[in-house]
Symmetry: C2
Subunit: 333 residues, 2 copies
C-alpha cells in the first residue's frame, strides 16, 4: 500500500525517523537507564521496538496502559508514574500474571489505596518544582515509612521536572534540572531504595542525577521538541489528509479537531498556511499555488501524545510504502 | 451505581438536561424540520432518543457515522453533510442495506467520486460565507446538472452558516443568517429539489429560510452555546474526575488533555480555578477550601463534540444515579 492510498485522516509514523530516534536514545541511555514512557505512543507494537533496543522497563500514565503492556508480554518492570485512588484498577494491576507493577504514591490516601488493593511495590513521587503531583521532599520519608508499614516495598523515588523539559535554552534547562534533582535527592536520602526516576525528552541528556529517565515523546519528536536547542530527535509523526475542497482563496482538507491535538496551538501544514481547524476540517491558504481536490497534504502534529490518542491505528511508512499498521491499543483509562 | 463510584475520568450526561433539550428542540422544530447532527454525540443510543422525539432524518460528518447509524437501524434518511473522495467509503455507504444515504457534493471531483462509487442521491453544498466547503452559489446549478448527468438524484442544497452560530448577539445572528440564506436560496433556484438544509444550534430558531436544520450540540449544550443570548438549551455534559493530589496551594484531578477538548480554551471546573491541563491531569486552585484526595470534581466541557469523541462510553445519570451507559459507537472515520 502506498501512503497516498491510506484512508484519511491517517496517522503515519516514519520508520526511518523512528529508528533514528530509537537508536539515538538507546545509545545515550542504554538498557534500564531509559524507562520509556508509553503514554506518548500508546502502542504495544512500538513498545516492543523499544524493548528490542534494550529497554525492558516502562513508564505508564494510566492503569489501562499498565494492563495492556502486561497482557502484551511487556510486563518485566512497569511503573505507573501516576497516582490512583481507583480500588478496582489498582487491584487489576496487582493481579496481573507475570508482570512486575510499581505504583507512584505521594500521600497517605494513595498509600492506603495501593496497599488495600494488593499493590506490592511503590515509588514515592516527589514534587520537584512543577505544580502537579508529588509530595514535599520533606514529607517523602514519612510516606515511605507508611508504605512499608502497610507491607509494600519502597523501590525509591520519582519526580518529574515537567516545567523544565520544554525550556528552549539548553543552559537554562541544565540549571533548572539540577535544582529539581537536588530536591529529589534530598527525598531519596530519606526514602531509600535503588530507583531515582525522573526526566523527559527535553532533559534526557541533562538529567545525570536520576538513574533512569522517563522519556516518551523522543520516539516521534513533535514540533515542540525538535525545536529545542541541542535535542537530536527528528519529527516522525504526520497526519495525512485529503483536500476535499479548493477555490481561488482557500482549500479544505479532512483532518480536524477530532484527529489532532490543539493544546499546543494549531498544528502546521507542510507547504500551506493554516487558517483554522474545525471538527473534521482544516481550512488553509496556499500561497505557493492552489491545490487540487484529491491532493494529499501533511499535517505536523504539535503535540504527539494527545494526537495519537485520537486514532485507532498508526501506519508505519518507509518512504511512500506502508510497511506496517499498528493498533493504538493502550487508549483510555 | 452512584455517579461518584464511576471510574474516572468519566463522561457523564445528565438525563434531565438531555430531556429538556430534546423536548425544547422537538417542540421548536418538529419531525423532519430538524435533521439532528450526530457528530455532536457519536452515540446511536442518543440518536435513538432523537428518533423517538420524531426526528427520522439525521446529519453525519463522516462515513463511519453514516455506516454506524445505518447498521443500528437508524438509516431512514442519512445525510453525509461533508465531501468525500474516498472510493471505498463512498461505496460502503452506497451498499448499505435498507438505508437512504445522501452525500454532499461541491465540485466536479466530488460529483465524479460519488457517482463512481454508486451513491444515488446528493445535495449540492453551497458556501454561504464561512471559508470551508461549499461551491459558489453561482456554480451550484452547473454542479447539480453534472450530478444528474452522472445518474444521481439531486435532492436540493445545503449550506452551513458556521461563522454565525457562535455570534453572541441575537440581532447580529439574525442579520447574518438572512444574508447567508439569501446565498443559499439563489443556489436553490438553480439546483431545484425539495431540500434546503442549513443551520446549527446557534441559529436553529432564526433560520426560517432553510426547511431543515442540522443542529447537533443542542442535545448537551456546551459552555459556548449556553452563553449565547436567547438559546434555551442547558448544559448536560460533564467529565467527572477524582482528586489524586492536594496540598495547601493547589490540587490535581485525573482528567486531562486526553479526556477533554482544548480548542475552546481550558474547560472550567465547578467551584475551583483551573491552572493548567496536561495529558492526564488538571492542576487547579481552590479558593473555597482545600479538597481532599479522593474527592470528585466536575469539569464542564467547553466543546462537547471533540470531548465526547475522546471517550469509549457516556454514562447517563439522573441526580446521582447512573441509569444507563452508552457506547460512543460512531467514533473515527
Amino acid at each position: 500500500v502506498n501512503i497516498h492510498d491510506l484512508p484519511t485522516p491517517a496517522l503515519v509514523a516514519d520508520a526511518d525517523a523512528l529508528e533514528h530516534n530509537l537508536a539515538t536514545m538507546a545509545a545515550a541511555l542504554p538498557g534500564p537507564r531509559l524507562r520509556p514512557h508509553v503514554k506518548a505512543h500508546k502502542c504495544t507494537s512500538l513498545a516492543r521496538l523499544q524493548l528490542e533496543r534494550g529497554h525492558t522497563n516502562f513508564t505508564c500514565a494510566t492503569p489501562r496502559e499498565v494492563i495492556g503492556m502486561a497482557r502484551a508480554g511487556l510486563g518485566e518492570d512497569l511503573l505507573l508514574a501516576n497516582q490512583s485512588l481507583d480500588a478496582d484498577r489498582l487491584a487489576a494491576m496487582a493481579a496481573l500474571d507475570g508482570a512486575r507493577v510499581t505504583v507512584a504514591v505521594d500521600s497517605d490516601a494513595t498509600v492506603v489505596a495501593a496497599a488495600g488493593a494488593g499493590i506490592r511495590e511503590v515509588l514515592v513521587d516527589v514534587n520537584v518544582g512543577m505544580p502537579r503531583c508529588g509530595c514535599d521532599p520533606d514529607d517523602a520519608g514519612r510516606i515511605a515509612d507508611l508504605a512499608r508499614q502497610r507491607g509494600m516495598e519502597v523501590r525509591g523515588v520519582m519526580g518529574y521536572e515537567g516545567h523544565v523539559v520544554g525550556v528552549e535554552s539548553h543552559e537554562a534547562r541544565v540549571a533548572m534540572t539540577e535544582d529539581c534533582m537536588q530536591r529529589l535527592l534530598v527525598a531519596h536520602d530519606k526514602v531509600g531504595g535503588d530507583v531515582v526516576s525522573a526526566g523527559g525528552t527535553g532533559t534526557y541528556a541533562i538529567n545525570t542525577w536520576a538513574n533512569e529517565i522517563q522519556a516518551g515523546s523522543y520516539v516521534l519528536g513533535d514540533t515542540k521538541y525538535v525545536a529545542l536547542e541541542g535535542l537530536p530527535f527528528v519529527e516522525g509523526l504526520s497526519v495525512w489528509a485529503t483536500v476535499i475542497h479548493a477555490n481561488d482563496d482557500w482549500a479544505v482538507a479532512d483532518a480536524g479537531l477530532k484527529a489532532l491535538a490543539m493544546d499546543h496551538d494549531n498544528p502546521p501544514l507542510d507547504g500551506h498556511e493554516v487558517w483554522f481547524y474545525s471538527d473534521e476540517h482544516v481550512t488553509f491558504g496556499s500561497p505557493g499555488g492552489r491545490p487540487a481536490v484529491g491532493d494529499r497534504v501533511r499535517v505536523r502534529p504539535a503535540h504527539i501524545d494527545p494526537t495519537i490518542a485520537k486514532h485507532d491505528v498508526m501506519h508505519v511508512v518507509r518512504g511512500e510504502e506502508v510497511i506496517d499498521t499498528w493498533e493504538v491499543d493502550l487508549r483510555g483509562w
